[in-house]
């Protein structure tokens, strides 16, 4: 399908386009795609964060988020003052999360959108940014796209599977679906925490973004086993995110001194909400044991109350998540050279 126009936006410099609210609603994009959140994130990123909108004759037909990694990128430095351009590669991924793909298209291409990425997005963004865009890394690629990608000169790797938790009724109904040992463990734990007067659980309340930023830093420190350690979410980004009406928090506090003990942040979506953040205070700093498990129970309650069919739990901790009843979807990452695109016979 020919594309009439490609619009490459950088939320650092470009105001929210008029079509953005309608596009995000139509595409079912979560709170982290809201323009103020994108702007905050783009400023506090290492590389330019691009939002590419594909336009057809009757309005937007697709949107892709990507980072532009150039030779001036530094691990301990925020992005420079200029727009993306020159020599570099695209890191195609959703803003802020690695649990969902970073693209949406209005039609199903039978390959999870990857066909349209290759046929429309990549040539289009190279027209806009120039031929210096010499490689692309696609993340959260679904299995059905593999036949398109497994060609000479490309690198396709299976990455960590993504976990989903299906709604099966209230907390007790969910417990009943779990293996006996896990069920007994969770029952005991839920009783302990529910009866603990020093721990209060609140879903959907306001949380101070500064305290949230402090607490979320704890979890980031425990996951430093990846090649590129993501930057934390800073206070400004969290302020923009937590102000959104479609963001819910599950907060554990100590009512005696109002210490934030643990925090889960959910990005709502009619079909697949995301459990975007989780972090808990370590026990030696006054935290409580077992809150992560209790959080699953609260998630099930929230799914039950809101009628959402399932929730994405992201990657990592496969065995633990499986024991909590999670299901998994395989995902892949693909690195493509873009130099001589036509010669390689894309798509």
């Amino acid at each position: 399908m020919p594309v009439s126009a490609v619009e490459v936006l950088d939320a650092r410099f470009d105001a929210e386009p008029d079509h953005w609210p309608e596009l995000t609603a139509r595409a079912g994009l979560r709170a982290d795609w809201s323009w103020p959140v994108l702007a905050a994130q783009a400023w506090a990123a290492r590389v330019p964060q691009l939002v590419t909108v594909l336009h057809g004759s009757e309005g937007p037909t697709g949107v892709v988020a990507s980072g532009f990694v150039g030779p001036t990128t530094r691990r301990h430095r925020f992005v420079g003052p200029r727009r993306a351009g020159g020599l570099g590669g695209l890191d195609v991924r959703a803003p802020g999360t690695s649990a969902v793909p970073g693209w949406w298209f209005d039609t199903d291409d039978g390959h999870g959108g990857v066909h349209r990425l290759l046929a429309e997005f990549l040539p289009g963004i190279r027209r806009e940014l120039g031929a210096g865009v010499c490689a692309a890394l696609l993340r959260q690629v679904p299995e059905e796209a593999l036949p398109l990608l497994e060609k000479r000169g490309r690198l396709v790797r299976k990455t960590e599977p993504l976990a989903h938790l299906r709604a099966v009724g209230d907390r007790d109904a969910w417990l009943a679906t779990l293996p006996r040992k896990r069920r007994q463990h969770l029952r005991r734990l839920f009783d302990t925490i529910d009866d603990d007067p020093t721990t209060t659980v609140r879903t959907g309340g306001a949380v101070d973004p500064t305290r949230a930023a402090e607490l979320l830093r704890v979890n980031l420190e425990t996951h430093r086993d990846v090649p590129i350690i993501p930057l934390p979410q800073f206070t400004g980004q969290l302020t923009a995110l937590l102000a959104r009406p479609d963001v819910f928090t599950i907060a554990y506090t100590d009512p005696r001194d109002d210490t934030l003990l643990a925090l889960g942040v959910l990005l709502d979506h009619p079909e697949l909400p995301l459990a975007r953040h989780w972090s808990a205070l370590p026990e030696d700093e006054g935290g409580r044991p077992g809150l992560y498990f209790h959080f699953y129970g609260e998630l099930m309650r929230w799914l039950h109350d809101t009628g959402r069919p399932r929730v994405s739990l992201g990657k990592k901790m496969v065995d633990l998540k499986r024991s909590m009843g999670a299901e998994f979807t395989d995902q892949y990452a693909a690195a493509l050279p873009l130099v001589g695109l036509a010669l390689l016979g894309l798509p």
């Binding site: 650092r12 702007a39 506090a44 301990h76 003052p81 500064t210 800073f234 206070t235």
Partner: protein, 267 residues
């Protein structure tokens, strides 16, 4: 007819040089804060700035120390670093100017228990922290130093200095350096300018003016008050902090020493 460079023109040249170095150091810190420290990045960028060009907004880019304390987690640069504030920072460097003494002495910092020791003492000096409210175990050592004729310089608030000199034997020989806050600068004859978040910022010199510790501290006038920047502290990075909630004042140049001084309404 006199030939050569006069004393005044020499002072003028020193002032020009110091001013250039001082501003360059400040601009470097601002650029680096914007490029690597989340708090300033978000504050300045989301406030509509795309480069470290200060001067916009009601406080002209400055921020209260209360806000800095609240945002401590975002004051470390991306490469990491401590986020705790150091209330004794800079004291050691100011000591020779605060109370010139003959020979190496003993510094007594009158601080709350749990404060960090003074770590930037001049060579040959020793230091100790004393809690003036109680019979601190360090008091005998101070008495011994006084007895041996070593100079002892005590730095702290007036009340703590009184308590300390009463408790220590030979307390009348202690060189007192009272700690002053920006909104209560007096005419001395001795004193150091202190803020609990930024540490020691300046000193009252023999010219009777409050000198900034200009190699480590930058100050500029904003509509919200005097804003201070620590030029050498990487983390937590403190840039354009409105000390004391924003105290109106001016940065001037000392006619005798040709280095920057602060003048507030009170001082």
């Amino acid at each position: 007819m006199k030939t050569g460079i006069g004393r005044d023109s020499l002072r003028g040249m020193v002032k020009t040089g110091v001013d250039a170095l001082w501003r360059t150091a400040y601009r470097r810190v601002v650029r680096s804060a914007f490029a690597t420290v989340p708090f300033y990045r978000e504050r300045w960028a989301l406030g509509g700035r795309t480069e470290p060009r200060l001067g916009s907004g009601s406080a002209e880019g400055a921020v209260s120390t209360e806000d800095l304390v609240r945002a401590a987690v975002d004051l470390a640069p991306l490469a990491g670093g401590p986020t705790g504030f150091d209330p004794v920072r800079g004291l050691g460097g100011l000591l020779p100017l605060a109370r010139p003494t003959a020979g190496d002495g003993l510094l007594v910092a009158l601080e709350h228990p749990g404060a960090r020791p003074v770590w930037d003492l001049p060579r040959g000096w020793r230091g100790c922290l004393v809690d003036a409210e109680v019979d601190d175990p360090a008091l005998p050592e101070v008495g011994a130093a006084l007895g041996a004729g070593r100079p002892v310089v005590a730095v702290g608030p007036d009340k703590a200095l009184d308590g300390f000199t009463d408790r220590v034997p030979g307390g009348d020989r202690v060189h007192r350096v009272p700690r002053r806050t920006l909104d209560r600068l007096d005419s001395g004859p001795y004193g150091v300018l202190h803020d609990p978040v930024l540490g020691y910022l300046g000193v009252l010199r023999d010219c009777g003016l409050w000198h900034l510790d200009w190699t480590r501290v930058y100050a500029r006038r904003t509509r919200a008050g005097l804003a201070f920047t620590l030029l050498r502290q990487r983390s937590p990075r403190l840039v354009d902090a409105l000390v004391g909630g924003g105290v109106p004042g001016r940065v001037e140049w000392c006619p005798r020493h040709a280095t920057p001084v602060v003048r507030t309404v009170a001082g």
